[in-house]
Symmetry: C2
Subunit: 507 residues, 2 copies
């Protein structure tokens, strides 16, 4: 009996009863699988049209549906490229970027080739930094250049700035001369300044034009205009912006009206202005877009509010993480090592300040030996002082960054903090003194701890306000390092005042 070579998974012709059994078994397995699939289909909605897929992918709150992510993973496991493309095609680029953030590195590699080239351009600026690098490494410089040329200059620069130097040079070389020149100029500005954030594409009109002139110009040069714009900047003879006409105002004005009579005052952004400042200005004046000018006051680009939204999110994230002693930005895709690098340094600094507090305690070893209750109670004084300090500190850091706290009202703010501290200290001292006194059956111990907490909360109020104010005066970020300073102060003063007073009052 000759056994024919079998192609995998293809039923062979039935020669013998054995073979027939094998085939029967296979058919039953296949049937079972089919039934199971049907069952699966019953659980899940039919997902064939892009609308159905998008509705399924996004939950009510526009977060990605974990079941959708499973669909993608399943398709990748099956190697079903067409299904992957279908699934990816239906999503907004921001959601595709979000999806990539949720996938593990292996799955990302499988999914990326199925993102259509046109969508890839819009996905890139949305990605977390480390994932973006990963994606870019899979593309050839020529393809990357083409992708970037489809973007507005600010988005393209954001992608370029994260590349290694060699890759950046190759990609620039593959661009057209004018695009390359634009990119090189943009990249010559400092990171996190207006020059980097702005898009160079603006709509500008000379001051002597009428509404009709402007509309005709826009219809004729539609292709050179930015994809989306909200204001037309009116420029004087030396290319200096002198006003702006919102598109919605232009649109409802009569054709013969002159721009000069329509225009509204502008808030100019200097090309070297820091992004935090820009965000502050946009928030304060409710700006939608603002012209960017160079040293000579000439219009060189514009910043639009949609970019500002992301900066505000980023800056508040930096503040909040700095206050917790996390130095670098950490994202979903950060490796364990990156996270360690961003957190360990502050823990080491904390180790030194903790040793400092410790050595203060060791001065009072004799007192503790005589009265162990001191060791039992001393962490309470330190802990509550630390919390008061953190409260005052956080409020001050926020007030500084929103510019509600300045030299004008610094003294008044510190004075208010001190009074708040006294009231809080009074209430807490009463509770703590009573609690400790009753617990340890000692009136004098209660008095001692009450006095210590009053001293420490007062110190906490002062440190929590003065440390960030001083850092800000020295032009340093008031959020960074402040918490370590403040808790060092409250720990040391807490232990010292409690143990010191105990030595005087109790022993």
């Amino acid at each position: 009996m000759s056994q024919k070579p079998e192609a995998p998974n293809v039923p062979a012709a039935a020669d013998t009863a054995d073979d027939i059994d094998i085939i029967r078994a296979r058919m039953m397995a296949a049937e079972a699988e089919l039934l199971e699939r049907d069952h699966d289909d019953d659980d899940r909605p039919q997902l064939n049209t892009p609308e159905e897929i998008e509705d399924f992918a996004l939950q009510d709150d526009y977060a990605l549906n974990p079941e959708y992510i499973e669909l993608v993973v399943d398709a990748a496991d099956r190697g079903d490229g067409m299904r992957l493309r279908e699934l990816l095609d239906a999503l907004h680029p921001a959601d595709v970027a979000d999806l990539l953030g949720f996938l593990s590195e292996d799955y990302r590699e499988q999914v990326i080739p199925w993102i259509p080239a046109s969508a890839l351009a819009e996905v890139l600026p949305e990605l977390d930094d480390d994932i973006r690098e990963e994606v870019m490494d899979t593309l050839r410089p020529g393809d990357l250049a083409e992708v970037l040329q489809e973007l507005d200059s600010d988005d393209a620069a954001a992608v370029l700035e994260d590349m290694g130097e060699a890759q950046q040079r190759e990609v620039l070389a593959a661009m057209t001369a004018s695009d390359r020149e634009a990119m090189v100029t943009t990249l010559s500005y400092e990171e996190e300044t207006a020059g980097r954030l702005m898009q160079r594409e603006v709509v500008a009109a000379p001051i002597f034009w009428s509404v009709g002139d402007t509309i005709e110009h826009m219809r004729a040069h539609g292709d050179d205009l930015p994809e989306l714009f909200f204001d037309i900047y009116v420029i004087g003879p030396t290319h200096k912006p002198v006003g702006a006409v919102p598109v919605s105002l232009l649109m409802r004005s009569r054709r013969e009206v002159r721009l000069e009579d329509l225009m509204e005052p502008i808030t100019e952004i200097q090309v070297d202005m820091d992004q935090e400042e820009i965000a502050y200005i946009f928030g304060k004046y409710h700006l939608i877009s603002a012209p960017v000018v160079d040293d000579g006051g000439r219009l060189v680009g514009q910043i639009t509010v949609d970019d500002i939204v992301n900066i505000i999110q980023e800056e508040s994230r930096e503040d909040i993480l700095a206050l917790a002693g996390v130095s670098d930005e950490e994202g979903r895709g950060s490796t364990v090592f990156e996270v360690v690098k961003s957190r360990l340094p502050w823990l080491v600094v904390n180790l030194f300040t903790a040793f400092l507090a410790s050595s203060l305690i060791s001065v009072f070893s004799d007192e503790i030996e005589k009265l162990v209750a001191l060791a039992v109670l001393m962490p309470i004084v330190a802990s509550i002082g630390g919390n008061s300090g953190t409260q005052a500190l956080t409020v001050s850091v926020r007030a500084l960054s929103s510019r509600e706290l300045t030299t004008t009202n610094a003294l008044r703010t510190v004075w208010r903090e001190v009074r708040v501290g006294w009231i809080n200290a009074g209430v807490i001292a009463l509770l703590l003194g009573l609690g400790a006194g009753v617990w340890q059956q000692s009136f004098l111990l209660g008095v001692t701890i009450a006095l210590a907490i009053m001293i420490n909360i007062t110190a906490a109020s002062l440190a929590g306000t003065l440390v960030p104010l001083t850092l800000s005066r020295l032009d340093r970020d008031p959020a960074v390092a402040s918490p370590i300073f403040v808790t060092m102060v409250t720990d040391c003063i807490g232990f010292f005042s409690f143990l010191g007073l105990a030595g005087i009052i109790l022993l």
Copy 2:
């Protein structure tokens, strides 16, 4: 000799030598004052035109110049109303609001009457809540109604919602019927939802209109349109939005093109959606404006990105303050009592958790009595554990609020935190064990504290991630109360593991 009655400060006719001396003295004083004034003028720039005043008032970073605030205070002290009006007139309403925030209550009362009525409408929505109440109390209901009718419905509602019920009723009664109806509807939506945030003024066009139809309609009904808009919503037969045409696209398209062929997909906002979610959607999709729909999917208003900027700032402020144990919003104008109310409750909770940790220590009184070094070193273990926990916690809270942390990657995130914890713990344990061992001249003490810190940092990593994840699962704000829980865990485990291990290893 008859003495004539003298009008104050008016030189009397010189009758005698004495009188002449008096007059001479007065003239010299006046001359000196004039000289001094001249001198003052030399120091300060000439501030006569509105442009000069505005340039002087705003520093490079658009924060208010303290010297400008002094000018206002000086003018108020002199009772120089005309100068006050000049100084206030030159500023943007947002800057006037800012100025009022920096002034004390007495000065505010003097300054407010000099703000022109037209500007007041725009200043009101910019004010801190408590200052706004103060300002509104100085206005009659009729005047207030007039001021509010000048605003877009979202801004007017924001002002109305903060009034007492009686005042609100009076102001509403003074409005025109249609404005009143609009306000009552807006106020019927929950606070912090789309219904409150949206402006009811939108530009909508039926799907069968052409570009030309739309522009003509806008020119004809210019007065009824919102002051500023970015998108024209295309609506189907049942008033459901089916797409949007950006104004900048409409403007450069030919008149005969149909809206149906121009329109872009929209992201609809449900009228009862929470503002935090809305901010997330705007940030994710870089939206400029979005249509708000009711339960039936009908267009009822729009939300624009400039309102979102303020919400993002507000939400991040809430997060950061909640993490520091500050419950209510505190502003520049908050009284000492308000600040105490927002901070004292958490300090009291902290008092109880600190007592808990303390009673754990008291279990080990005998050990401490035998070896005081334990009392000296134990705060180090608790402090570093607390800091590790705060790091993990803050990163998790941020990731949850930006939806980078969801059920999909929760397990992976926790696992990463634990590994980060182990590495950090290893390094810190080594340093701490060495330091403590050398300082206290005991190898075993070094080993004990090293082991304890490894246990505590691991616990901190778990608590820092699991506490906010659990709160978020229970639909509670993960930032509120988390820090208290987490430091309670790290304090208790820190003291317990160190003192417990010491009992086993050392004694």
